[in-house]
């Protein structure tokens, strides 16, 4: 995440950039935001959207391989017939449902962090008004809770793998179990990337990055994190219904 620090960093270098710039949307002067805030936000959102597109393609490839393999017979040269040998894995459904719940919850707590930062940005300019207090800083604890929930999800996935192993279902046992480990493993690897982003967001809060930068980091990491949740639900559904 050095990139964020490099080109967004707090010294105002990124501010005012490309006001009224070519091609895209005109600069929208925010009432509460420093100049250039929306440009930076848009650039990072765009980058996350593009990144997610490539992640989607990775899972599209794995999904198509899964569906093709699940429906495919192998030709038996002895009997001269197709043998359909797909033996679906018995999913530890309760545990996976619990994990899903944890991940959905973490999306909620991340949203709380984002809202807290927004509220702080809005109220920061209103301190002069009677009866208006600056929103207290609560984003760091919410981000902390999100991190804990994310790690709890990973631990839950690990337990699910252990449960399968105890049934004798290893990576190489049969095609169905191979796909289970590959799909959940690839998701977990991407989720760890999300955890790193969230860690950076929490880190930025604790170490006093500008409010605008923190909002952008949390926003961009948030899109990624919510997508990880949606991706997991999709994978779970695929494994559950696509067998």
């Amino acid at each position: 995440m050095g990139t964020l620090r490099q080109s967004v960093g707090g010294s105002g270098r990124g501010d005012n950039f490309r006001e009224g710039g070519g091609g895209g949307e005109r600069y929208r002067p925010g009432r509460y935001e420093p100049a250039g805030y929306y440009e930076r936000l848009r650039r990072y959102r765009l980058a996350v959207a593009v990144l997610l597109l490539s992640v989607i393609m990775i899972f599209v490839a794995l999904t198509s391989a899964y569906i093709v393999r699940a429906g495919m017979g192998t030709y038996d040269t002895v009997t001269h017939s197709y043998v359909y040998d797909w033996k679906p894995v018995q999913l530890p459904n309760e545990l996976l449902l619990l994990n899903t719940l944890v991940l959905v919850l973490s999306s909620g707590t991340l949203e709380m962090a984002r809202r807290n930062l927004n509220a702080r940005a809005v109220t920061a300019g209103l301190t002069g008004l009677p009866g208006v207090a600056v929103e207290p800083e609560r984003s760091a604890p919410w981000l902390g809770i999100t991190l804990v929930l994310g790690m709890a999800f990973l631990a839950g996935q690990f337990l699910a793998w252990r449960e399968l192993r105890s049934q004798g279902m290893f990576l190489a046992t049969n095609p169905s179990s191979s796909f289970f480990y590959v799909l959940t493993g690839a998701h977990a690897a991407h989720l760890i990337g999300g955890l790193v982003a969230l860690f950076y967001a929490a880190f930025a809060t604790v170490f006093g990055k500008s409010l605008a930068t923190r909002r952008i980091v949390v926003d961009a990491a948030g899109w990624y994190w919510h997508f990880m949740g949606a991706l997991w639900i999709y994978i779970f559904a695929l494994l559950h219904f696509g067998k």
Binding site: G9, G22, L46, V50, S54, V55, I58, M72, T74, A172
Partner: protein, 596 residues
Amino acid sequence: MGNVQNTPHRADVGVVDSSVQHAAHAHAAPTGFIRKYIFSLDHKVIGLQYYFLALASVFTGLILSVLMRIHLVWPEWAIPGIGIIKDEQYLGLLTLHGTFMVFFVLTTAPQSGFGNYFLPIQIGAADMAFPVLNMLSFWTTFAAFIVMLGAFFTVMPIAGWTSYPTLSALPNAGSLPWGQDLWLLSIALFCAASLMGALNFITTTLDLRCKGMSLWRMPLTCWTWFVTAILGLLAFGVLLSGGLLLLLDRNAGTSFFVPGGLVVNGVQQRHEGGSPLLWQHLFWFFGHPEVYIAILPGMGVASQLLSTFSRKPIFGYRAMVFAVMAIGLLGFMVWGHHMFMSGMSPYTAFAFSLMTMAIGVPSAIKTFNWLGTMWRGKIRFYTPMLFAIGFVSLFVSGGLSGPFLAQPTLDIPLHDTFFVVAHFHLIMGVAAIFGIFAATYYWFPKMFGRMMSESLGRLHFWFTFVGTYAIFMPMHYEGMAGRPRRYGSMVVAGGLFNRLAALMPLEKFISIAAFVTAAAQLIFVINLFWSMKKGEKAPVNPWEATTLEWTIPSPPPHDNFAGNTPVVNHGPYEYSVPGVERDYVMQTDPASVHAH
């Protein structure tokens, strides 16, 4: 162009709009050697790093091909340091030749090299959107290159650049286990690097264009880099997935691509239930767009140069853009034409065949427009223009054999013969290389501040152009005669292909042509490095071109526009505009330069 001229201009001032703060270049000019030339964040340095990486790869690949040609014709020759090349080494040579050329040359130089250097400048930005990511993507590519070299120097993989299982999936089926693992690791790294690069290119194009640089005023080079980045973004993830599964098959005992009941070297394999065809689907879903990743930037460069050196606007700018998009879109729907031999349903084959031939339409639009651009132009035959015309020539020659191979009935006899080798070398290999050469001769003055030698350039062009045709045209004939690909020796005692011994004189001719053409590339290398030091000093705009890179000094300063973001008032190809004194209108010229 009418639409471009009718666009309401936002400012009727000159080059500079100093009111726009120029803060994208978040990093100051570095002074230390390491930050300046090694771990640089500057897109220009990174572009050159990619370029020289591709140069190292292209000569590696070239030497491998020379060794292959020696083995095919004079198998008894002992190569110093290698000895007599064995047939399995020949397989290793062709695998690494294909891999180096496709990934580290054709994907690296036109897109990552020139794209990195010139996309930000041509759209009026100070750098790419994410400089650190840019640096990271180069060094990941470099790591991939080193790992691939590792495969080269330890145990060469022998499964071809397509790495079909089961040969690639069974460690004990090939010669030795390591090479293929290193190959897969290298490709996985390369995929990750390409995804990072694609992310950067797309964000930069959409978000960093300067004032007045609407999408429809972008040079066609920028359009092709943009569309290529989208193709890379959607294609490399699929290869990454496939590579991961293949790596697991090799090392974790899974059976994604290995069917049951295989016996290798008398040993029953414990794999069961996989499908080698699954790999082919995943690979070619990446592999066909990859062909366009290699060629599209060359198309952009050809368009740019044909317009500039014909002193005419590009014929049908919008048609060119839509043709590039159509080629990109169709490129994702045709992967099955690589698999007509795999026993696919004739109905499926028909659909793939139809989609493939549909690509002929946008390709023909492009060719027609290139010819239309040159038609009755005041053509200036400088070296870059020669290579651009050479690109069109090769694109047509290689393209014409495409519709042959697109038809299952013709593809089944021609599949895996030299006809296919000839086809893809002309259209994807050498045409894209000509695009790289054209771009090098064209942009060298901007990149290094000096001109390249014209006479050496012309010599290089004619040797390469004639040599290329001498190498690859006869291969069509060989293929139709039944000469198969990937055979180290055709004629062996009691062999299947002994009737092909009659082709030997032709094989020798091809080999000699290849040696001459390969040697002629030294002219290019000498020209390149000699001109860097001793070439004539280049002015700001030696070719009298219109795009933004020709408004800034050669070589450009660290932040490109020295803090003065340009303002664009014109389209990229306004040459010989009636009523204008000069025969070209810079993109940054005041809008009042000509009436619209």
